[in-house]
C-alpha cells in the first residue's frame, strides 16, 4: 500500500483514539464527582498533549496518508483496521483534541447532576470523533460515525434543557436517516471495488449512474450533518437544548464531519457526479448562507441565533468545497477550523451568561456590558470574528472561499455577499443588545464578571482567532499539499474523461 506512510514504533493515532475510551472505562469504577471532573480533564489534556507530535511529525510536502497503521480485522470481508492522516484531516484532529479539555472545563460548574456519566460520554465522544477523522477503512469509518450518535444523544437527552426529548430524538433520527443510505453506498462501492480501503475506492471508472447514486447517498448523509439547507432543522433544536459542552462539540467538531465527508469521499470517489451536481449544490450553499443569515437576524434566543449563524457559515464551507479550486477548498478547510474556534467560543460565552441568568433570552441578557466588562470583551472579539472582521480568523477563511468563488463564477460570489452583510447584522445586533441593551434594561447589577477558570477557558480560543487571522500561512501550508494533490488528480481525471468521450465519439 504505497498510499500510506506507516508509522513505525509507537502507534500514535490508535493511542489517540483509544486513550479517551480507556479513560472513560476507568470512570465506570469510580463515582466521585470531583474525581470525574479532574480525571476527564487529565485524560483530555493528555490526549491534546499527545496529539502535538502529529503536528511536529507531519510532512506537509507529502501527499500520502501519514502516521498510518494497518491491521487485519475481519479478513473474510476484507475489513481492516486502517488509520492515517493527511493534510485535510490533520487540522481537524488537532481541533478535536484541543477543544475537548475546554469542554470539560466549561462543564465544571454547569453540570451538577450525574457528573460521572457526563464525563464518560464526553470521553467516548472524543474517541469516536478522532476515529472518524482518521479512519481509512470504510467500515471502521462507519462504526465511528454511528458510534458518535449515542453519547451525543445522551448528552442532549439527559443534560439538556426543557425540550430535550424532542431535540435529542430529532437529532438522532435525522442523522440516522442519513447514515442508512451511507451504509448502502458503502456496500455498493465494496461490491464494485472489492475492498473497504477508502483510497482504493477513489478515482475508479464507475459508470455515471452508479456515481450519481453513490454521490446522492453520500450527500444526504453529509448534508444532514453539515447541516446544509434544507436539512438543517435538527441543528437549532439540538443546540438550544444541549448543555454548553454539547453545543461546543456539536458546533466545533460534529458539523465538520459533514464537510470533511464531502471533501474526503464525494470528490475523489465520485468525481464525475461531483462535476455534474456541483452547480445545484453551490446554489444550495448560497441559499443556506442567506437563509441562515435572515433567520439568525430574527432570533431572540442567543443559542438559536448562533445555531442559525452556523448554517450560514457552513454554507460558506460547502461553497468553498464545490467551487473545486485551490483557494476555495483551502478556504473551506480553514473555515472549518475557524468556525470551530469562533462558534465554540461564542457558545462558551452564551453558556457563561446562562449560568448566571438561567436564560438564553437576548432581552434578559441585555445591558450586561456595564457589569461584566471582561465577558463582553471576549464576546465582542468572538462576534467580530464570526462576521469576518478583517484581522480575525474568519476573515481569511471567507476571503479565500470568496476568492475561489470569484474565480469560479463572479455572480455566484456576488450572491454570497448578502450573507456576509447579514452576518455582520445579526452579530452586531446581538452584541449591541448584550453590551448596551436599550433604555429599559433589566437590572443586571447582581452579575459577577468572569472568574479565572472562565478566562482560562476563553483565552486560547481568542488566541487562535488572532493567530489564524494574522498568520494563516502555517495552517494553510499544512493542508496545501493534500489539497493541490486532490485537485490535480481531479483535473487529470476530467481531462481523461474528456479524451475518453472524444474517442468514443
Amino acid at each position: 500500500m504505497d498510499l500510506l506512510v506507516i508509522k513505525e514504533g509507537f502507534p500514535l493515532l490508535s493511542f489517540l483514539i483509544f486513550f479517551p475510551l480507556a479513560g472513560s472505562l476507568v470512570l465506570l469504577f469510580f463515582h466521585g464527582e470531583e474525581f470525574a471532573r479532574r480525571w476527564a480533564l487529565a485524560i483530555t489534556s493528555l490526549t491534546a498533549l499527545f496529539s502535538i507530535p502529529l503536528l511536529t511529525g507531519f510532512d506537509a510536502a507529502s501527499t500520502k496518508y501519514q502516521f498510518a497503521e494497518a491491521y487485519k480485522w475481519i479478513p473474510q470481508f476484507h475489513i481492516n483496521y486502517i488509520v492515517g492522516m493527511d493534510g485535510i484531516s490533520v487540522l481537524l484532529v488537532l481541533l478535536t483534541t484541543f477543544i475537548m479539555p475546554f469542554c470539560v472545563l466549561a462543564s465544571w460548574k454547569y453540570i451538577q447532576k450525574r457528573v460521572v456519566q457526563f464525563m464518560f460520554c464526553l470521553l467516548v465522544m472524543e474517541t469516536s470523533m478522532i476515529g472518524v477523522f482518521v479512519a481509512l477503512d470504510f467500515i471502521l469509518f462507519y462504526v465511528f460515525w454511528e458510534f458518535m450518535l449515542i453519547p451525543m444523544y445522551l448528552l442532549i437527552a439527559i443534560w439538556g434543557g426543557p425540550r430535550k426529548a424532542y431535540a435529542s430524538i430529532k437529532f438522532f433520527l435525522y442523522t440516522l436517516a442519513g447514515s442508512v443510505l451511507l451504509l448502502v453506498a458503502i456496500i455498493a462501492l465494496y461490491l464494485k471495488s472489492g475492498s473497504f480501503f477508502i483510497p482504493e475506492m477513489m478515482w475508479q471508472p464507475y459508470s455515471m449512474t452508479f456515481q450519481v447514486l453513490v454521490f446522492l447517498a453520500f450527500f444526504l448523509a453529509f448534508a444532514i450533518k453539515v447541516p446544509m439547507f434544507p436539512f438543517h432543522t435538527w441543528l437549532p433544536a439540538a443546540h438550544v437544548e444541549a448543555p454548553t459542552a454539547g453545543s461546543v462539540i456539536l458546533a466545533s467538531i460534529l458539523l465538520k464531519m459533514g464537510t470533511y465527508g464531502l471533501l474526503r469521499f464525494c470528490l475523489p470517489i465520485t468525481p464525475d457526479a461531483t462535476v455534474l451536481l456541483a452547480q445545484p449544490i453551490l446554489w444550495l450553499s448560497i441559499a443556506g448562507i442567506i437563509y441562515g443569515g435572515f433567520t439568525a437576524l430574527a432570533q431572540h434566543d442567543m443559542k438559536k441565533l448562533i445555531a442559525y449563524s452556523s448554517v450560514g457559515h457552513m454554507g460558506f464551507v460547502t461553497l468553498g468545497i464545490f467551487v473545486l479550486n485551490t483557494r476555495g477548498v483551502e478556504g473551506a478547510i480553514l473555515q472549518m477550523i475557524n468556525h470551530g474556534v469562533t462558534t465554540g467560543g461564542l457558545f462558551l460565552c452564551v453558556g457563561m451568561i446562562y449560568e448566571r441568568t438561567h436564560s438564553r433570552e437576548l432581552s434578559l441578557a441585555s445591558g450586561v456590558g456595564k457589569y461584566m466588562p471582561w465577558f463582553v470583551t471576549f464576546l465582542a472579539f468572538f462576534s467580530l470574528s464570526s462576521f469576518g472582521f478583517p484581522g480575525t480568523n474568519s476573515f481569511i477563511g471567507e476571503f479565500l472561499v470568496l476568492a475561489g468563488t470569484f474565480e469560479h463564477n463572479i455572480f455566484l460570489a456576488l450572491a454570497a455577499i448578502p450573507g456576509a452583510v447579514l452576518a455582520a447584522a445579526y452579530m452586531l445586533r446581538m452584541l449591541q443588545k448584550i453590551v448596551w441593551g436599550g433604555t429599559n434594561n433589566p437590572d443586571q447589577s447582581y452579575l459577577k464578571d468572569l472568574g479565572i477558570r472562565e478566562i482560562i477557558v476563553l483565552t486560547p480560543f481568542l488566541l487562535f482567532v488572532f493567530w489564524i487571522g494574522l498568520g494563516p500561512q502555517p495552517f494553510i501550508d499544512l493542508m496545501h499539499g493534500s489539497v493541490t494533490h486532490l485537485l490535480d488528480q481531479f483535473q487529470t481525471w476530467q481531462q481523461h474523461g474528456q479524451v475518453a468521450s472524444l474517442l468514443l465519439k
Binding site: 472582521f389 470568496l402 476568492a403 452583510v421 452586531l428 449591541q432 448596551w436 498568520g471
Partner: protein, 499 residues
C-alpha cells in the same frame, strides 16, 4: 502629468510607523484603566495626542526628501499583508488628524466637564481608538489594511454616537452602524476580493497613474469595482448613503467636531480618493472615462445637501449637511483627473477640516454657554458671545470660499481644475454651491450680531463660553486663516502626490 518614478521615491523600512499607529491605541488602553483618576486620564489623553503629532512630524524630513516609509506587520497570504506606509498622500491626512486631536482633547475636556457628561472614561478611550483607526487609515499600504482600519473606525465610534444611551442616541447609533457596516460589507468586501483575484495583490503602487488593475480585466468588471469602491466607503457621505451622518449628530459635540467633521468622514474621502488614484489609477479612469461622470454624480450631492442644509434649523444638522456637501468637493476635485483638480480636492481635506471643526466647536460652545441648539433662537447672541460667533463667521467664510481663509485656496484650485477639464457644468455646480453656502451660513452670523433678541430683551445669565473651549476654537480658526494665507506647507505634500 508626470508620475513619480520608483527611483525618485525609494522605499525605506521604518518601524516608527508602527509606533505612530500604536500610540493612540496604547493611550486608549491606559485611559481605560483610569476610571477613578479623571485628571490623570485627561493627562494621558493629551500626552498621547501630543506624542502622536510629534511622531507624525518626524516623518516629514524623509517624506520631503522623496522617500516612502514602509513597514510590514503581518504577511497573511501572498500579496495580502497588513502593512503601513507613509507618503505625501498619507501625510496630508495624518497631519490633519493628529494635530486636530490635540485641540479636540482640550476642547472635549472643557465640554464634557462643563456639561457633566457620564461615562467620560469610555468616551476618552473610544475617542483615542477612533484616532487609532484614522491614523491607521492614513498610513495604510494596501487595500486590506485600509479596510481593516476603516472597519475599526466604524466599530469604535459606535459607543461615541450612542453616548447618551437614550432612545434618540440608540436610534442614531443604530442607523450609523447599519449604514457603515452594510455598505462596507456589501460593496467593499467583494470589491477587495475581486481585485485580489484579478491582480494577485492589494498593495498600492507608488504613483497615481498606473493603478493595480491588470489591463486584461474586462471593462464592465472594472467599472463595477469602481462603483463598489465609491459606495463602499460610505463614510465619504456621497448620496444616497449619507444618512448616517446627520443621524450621528446625536453624539456629544466634540465627537461631531473631531469625528464627523474630521476623522471619520475624512477617513471616508481619504479611502475613496486613495482607491481612485492608487488602485484604479488615472490611466484606467481616463481610459474607461470614469472621472467626469463621478464628478457630476458627486456634484448632485454637493447641490442637494446644500439645499437640505438651507432647510435645517438645528445648527448641528445644518453643519452636518454642509459636511456632506463639502466632502463631495474633495471627490469632485480628484475625479476631474487634472493636476489642479486633484490638488484642489486633496487640499480641501485639510482646509475643510480646520474650518469645519471650528464651526462645530462653536456650536458646542453655544450649547454649553446658552443651551441653544436651534439657529432661530440664536439671534442677537453674537453680541453676548463675540469670540465664539466671530470665529464662527471666519470659519463660515472659509466654507463659502472667500479669501483669505483656507476654503478659498481649495475653491480656487477646483475652479481652475474644472476649467482645465473644460467642464462648464462642473464650474456651474461649484458656483451654485458657493451661492448656497452663502445662503445657509451668512444668515447665522448676520442674525447673531445684528438680529433682535427674542422677546426684545436681553436674556440674563448667558456669558461667553468657558476659556477651555474658547482657546481651542481660536486656535482652530487661526490655523484656518494661516493656511489660507500660506497654503504651501500642506500643498507641498499634495504636490508630491501629483509628482
Amino acid at each position: 502629468m508626470h508620475a513619480l518614478t520608483p527611483e525618485l521615491a525609494p522605499v525605506v523600512e521604518n518601524g516608527n510607523l508602527l509606533l505612530a499607529v500604536i500610540i493612540p491605541l496604547f493611550g486608549s488602553l491606559v485611559v481605560m484603566t483610569m476610571k477613578k483618576h479623571p485628571n490623570l486620564r485627561e493627562f494621558i489623553s493629551s500626552c498621547s495626542s501630543v506624542l502622536l503629532f510629534i511622531m507624525v512630524l518626524t516623518f516629514i524630513p524623509a517624506i520631503k526628501a522623496g522617500q516612502t516609509l514602509h513597514f510590514t506587520l503581518f504577511e497573511l497570504l501572498p500579496g495580502l499583508s497588513i502593512s503601513l506606509r507613509a507618503d505625501g498622500f498619507s501625510m496630508i491626512f495624518a497631519l490633519v488628524a493628529s494635530s486636530l486631536w490635540i485641540i479636540a482633547v482640550y476642547y472635549s475636556m472643557g465640554y464634557m466637564r462643563a456639561h457633566d457628561e457620564p461615562c467620560q472614561t469610555r468616551f476618552n478611550a473610544c475617542f483615542a481608538l477612533a484616532i487609532f483607526g484614522a491614523i491607521g487609515v492614513a498610513f495604510s499600504d494596501n487595500l486590506l489594511t485600509l479596510y481593516l482600519f476603516y472597519e475599526i473606525v466604524s466599530v469604535c465610534t459606535y459607543p461615541l454616537v450612542a453616548h447618551h444611551q437614550d432612545a434618540e442616541s440608540y436610534d442614531g447609533a443604530r442607523k450609523y452602524i447599519i449604514y457603515l457596516t452594510t455598505t462596507a460589507k456589501f460593496f467593499l468586501l467583494p470589491a477587495i476580493i475581486l481585485i485580489y483575484v484579478l491582480s494577485g495583490s492589494l498593495d498600492f503602487p507608488h504613483s497615481i497613474n498606473a493603478g493595480i488593475i491588470p489591463s486584461s480585466a474586462k471593462d464592465w468588471v472594472v467599472i463595477m469595482l469602481y462603483v463598489f469602491c465609491i459606495f463602499g466607503f460610505a463614510k465619504n457621505g456621497v448620496m444616497p448613503f449619507h444618512h448616517w451622518l446627520p443621524g450621528a449628530m446625536v453624539a456629544p459635540t466634540p465627537v461631531s467636531a473631531l469625528l464627523h467633521a474630521v476623522a471619520v468622514v475624512k477617513v471616508g474621502v481619504f479611502c475613496t480618493t486613495r482607491t481612485m488614484l492608487y488602485v484604479f489609477g488615472v490611466d484606467v479612469m481616463d481610459k474607461l472615462n470614469l472621472g467626469i461622470p463621478t464628478a457630476y454624480f458627486v456634484g448632485f450631492t454637493i447641490i442637494a445637501a446644500s439645499m437640505i442644509a438651507l432647510s435645517k434649523d438645528n445648527l448641528k444638522a445644518r453643519l452636518a449637511y454642509s459636511t456632506v456637501s463639502q466632502l463631495s468637493y474633495i471627490i469632485l476635485g480628484v475625479a476631474l483627473l487634472t493636476p489642479h483638480g486633484i490638488e484642489g480636492g486633496l487640499i480641501h481635506i485639510v482646509n475643510h477640516a480646520f474650518s469645519k471643526i471650528t464651526l462645530f466647536f462653536c456650536a458646542g460652545a453655544i450649547y454649553i454657554a446658552a443651551h441653544k441648539k436651534y439657529i432661530s433662537e440664536m439671534s442677537g447672541l453674537g453680541r453676548t458671545m463675540p469670540f465664539t460667533f466671530g470665529a464662527f463667521a471666519v470659519a463660515s467664510l472659509s466654507m463659502i470660499g472667500a479669501p483669505p481663509v483656507a476654503g478659498f485656496v481649495s475653491k480656487w484650485y477646483l475652479l481652475v481644475g474644472s476649467m482645465e477639464a473644460s467642464q462648464v457644468g462642473i464650474l456651474l455646480i461649484l458656483i451654485a454651491s458657493t451661492v448656497l453656502n452663502v445662503g445657509y451660513f451668512a444668515p447665522i452670523t448676520y442674525k447673531a450680531f445684528f438680529g433682535k433678541r427674542p422677546g426684545g430683551q436681553a436674556e440674563t445669565g448667558i456669558k461667553e463660553a468657558p476659556l477651555s473651549m474658547l482657546i481651542p476654537i481660536l486656535i482652530a480658526v487661526t490655523i484656518s486663516v494661516i493656511i489660507g494665507i500660506y497654503p504651501n506647507f500642506m500643498m507641498q505634500f499634495v504636490r508630491m502626490v501629483i509628482g
